[in-house]
């Protein structure tokens, strides 16, 4: 098995708060990996450091053999790492289709050379429409993105990330605040994409979602990795129970 994405000894501090301390996380090619941990344990910070949205103090990040430490976000995106945000970041006053086309810059469309050409070539639009169909919001293609519901926005963010054909997708709480049937659709789609070759790393508080989907789960607590392994092992690991599952009652609002 080859490692696709690796954070090696990553540390990051915000002022006096050590958000990440010597973190090492690996994601195998073709897998669906999970990243869990209590609120404030550094999951999102780790995502940010791996995707260029945050500079790291020490350590390195690799995509395959390539060192991508502290590259700018657009470089990271162009190299094939797509990500979504915990607080969904779509372009509210663009239409759903236009949101897709913004992310379609890296596809092989040669119209890039003519900036006044109509946004989105036919191939881009068809691919965007297919992806919207795939996540089930194709009927909203011409609506302004701000009119979408919370769950639909998550689906839009996922699908516009997919437009660029990323090799690996990092999802930050894809199921947070999303209704159960949409969560089921989401995990089905992730499984389908994974079967087609896309690797995933998922931060999520919904334990059923993570345990059902991921082959490998890493647990963070206070910025350090406390455990890593298959879900059935993680579920029974005393350190994990102590750090995380012990307080699920407060945290499982996504399960309801």
């Amino acid at each position: 098995m080859t490692v696709m994405l690796r954070a090696e000894g990553v540390s990051k501090a915000f002022g006096g708060v050590q958000a990440l301390r010597d973190c090492t996380v690996e994601v195998e090619q073709g897998s669906i990996a999970g990243l869990i941990g209590p609120n404030g344990s550094g999951k999102t910070t780790l995502f940010n450091t791996m995707t260029g949205y945050e500079r790291i103090d020490a350590g390195s990040v690799y995509l395959g053999d390539r060192k991508i430490t502290n590259l700018a976000p657009q470089r990271v995106f162009a190299l094939g790492i797509g990500r979504t945000f915990q607080l969904t970041r779509i372009f509210p006053r663009l239409t759903v289709m236009e949101n897709m086309l913004v992310a379609a810059q890296h596809t092989g469309d040669k119209r890039l050379h003519n900036p006044l050409a109509r946004a989105g070539g036919r191939a881009d639009r068809r691919r965007a429409a297919d992806l919207l169909e795939f996540v089930g919001i194709a009927s909203h293609a011409d609506a302004l993105a701000e009119t979408l519901s919370y769950g639909q926005r998550k689906l839009l963010e996922l699908s516009y990330v997919l437009v660029a054909n990323p090799a690996i997708v990092l999802l930050d709480e894809p199921a947070g605040g999303v209704n159960p049937s949409l969560i089921r659709l989401l995990s089905d789609r992730i499984r389908e994409l994974n079967a087609a070759g896309t690797t995933f790393l998922i931060v999520e508080h919904n334990m059923d979602f993570v345990m059902g989907l991921c082959g490998q789960v890493t647990v963070l607590d206070y910025g350090t990795v406390v455990a890593s392994g298959p879900p059935q092992i993680i579920r029974t690991d005393p350190r994990v129970l102590d750090a995380y599952l012990g307080i699920t009652e407060e945290d499982d609002d996504a399960e309801r």
């Binding site: 779509i90 946004a119 660029a164």
Partner: protein
């Protein structure tokens, strides 16, 4: 099923109507252009044509401002710098080369070049920051430019610079200005339309909504913003040059006028920020009203107070502008009419079924069986 023929009707009606609307839009634009073309033939009163020329110049400037600020969301209050730079460029060049008559219009290209050239360093400085900070920096540019022009000898200091006065036929004196202004407006609007539908325009609007996320998706924010800023400055400079030739004089406080910035901003906001027709509509309403008020009451203060009041009203009541609000109302009205038409069937069926049930002496409640309702509906239907 008998409904088979009726079922495809709503989807078939939808695209057909949208198609009709799509065809209506260029036809409307063309009709509007024709009206503008024949306007000076219909109205020859110099007071009217003077207001018309002024309005066209401001419409072009508002469209130019909107290309940058409307699409990118970076509100510039310093575009008077480019307006004034265009005015002074034409003035200095015409004086130096003794240009008169139609030749002065050619100098507008020079005004475009100077305003565009000036906008590059200013843009590189101002576009590093966002929102309020950006607005404050553009205002600072404005004061620097005004003070500079007041203190230089080449610009004539505080007494400014005079334009050559063309010896055209007094009866049609305003016509050359009118048609050059109209050409400028058409060019600006075409540019605005091309940009809005292009990849470049999409990137600008993505920057408006979430610049960091757009950058993360590969939008090269700085070059995109700067290009829009320069295009906007070029057209604004030409508008300034034309305005100078038309007015006949440039003095620092009028060529670099804070009211210019306020006017184009109000025009764009009034019509609809980031739309193609919005700034034109705003200019068409606001500029003639201002000019007329100034003429009627022989002082500028009343129109300025009203302009300020209008700005407040627009921000409070129509924050998105007339055109987006109207479009939204039409969409909502259509959707309501469509859903009412769709609902018209079932409720009628329910009441008909209930009425019949009542007549039959049974309990007057709607038929719980949907097939029964459908049957009743068909019977009750025309």
């Amino acid at each position: 099923m008998t409904g088979g023929t009726a079922a495809p009707r709503p989807p078939a009606g939808g695209p057909a109507r949208r198609l009709a609307l799509a065809a209506w839009r260029p036809a409307g634009a063309l009709a509007f252009l024709v009206i503008l073309l024949v306007f000076p033939l219909a109205f020859q009163n110099p007071t009217v044509t003077t207001i018309a020329v002024d309005t066209l110049i401001f419409a072009a400037a508002a469209v130019a401002w909107n290309i940058f600020s409307g699409y990118s969301g970076y509100i510039s209050l310093g575009h008077a710098v480019f307006f004034g730079a265009g005015a002074y460029t034409v003035g200095i060049a015409a004086r130096a080369w003794h240009t008169t008559g139609d030749g002065v219009f050619v100098l507008l290209l020079l005004a475009a070049a100077v305003a565009g050239g000036l906008s590059v360093p200013l843009g590189l400085i101002a576009l590093r920051v966002r929102r309020h900070t950006f607005v404050v920096i553009t205002i600072a540019f404005f004061f620097i430019a005004q003070l500079t022009v007041t203190n230089l000898t080449v610009t004539g200091g505080s007494s400014g610079i005079l334009a050559p006065s063309p010896n055209w036929d007094p009866a049609t004196f305003n016509n050359p200005f009118y048609y050059v202004a109209l050409a400028l407006l058409v060019i600006a609007t075409a540019a605005s339309w091309l940009i809005r539908r292009s990849r470049f325009g999409l990137q600008l609007r993505a920057i408006r909504d979430d610049e960091d996320r757009a950058a993360g998706l590969g939008v090269r924010a700085m070059p995109v913003k700067l290009t829009a800023f320069v295009i906007s400055a070029v057209v604004t400079g030409m508008a300034g040059g034309l305005w100078f030739y038309f007015i006949g004089q440039a003095i620092p406080q009028f060529a670099f006028d804070p009211l210019f910035d306020l006017s184009v901003v109000v025009m764009a906001f009034f019509g609809g920020l980031g739309t193609i027709a919005g700034p034109i509509l705003g200019a068409l309403v606001i500029e003639p009203a201002q000019q007329w008020l100034t003429l009627q009451y022989t002082n500028e203060y009343l129109s300025e107070i009203l302009l300020g009041a209008l700005f407040l009203l627009v921000i409070l009541a129509l924050p998105r502008g007339v055109i987006p609000t109207a479009a939204e109302l039409i969409t909502r009205f259509r959707a309501r009419r469509r859903s009412r038409r769709a609902e018209a069937g079932p409720p009628a069926a329910v009441t008909a079924a209930a009425a019949r049930a009542g007549q039959a002496g049974t309990a007057a409640r709607p038929d719980p069986d949907p097939a029964g309702q459908a049957r009743a509906g068909r019977e009750a239907g025309p």
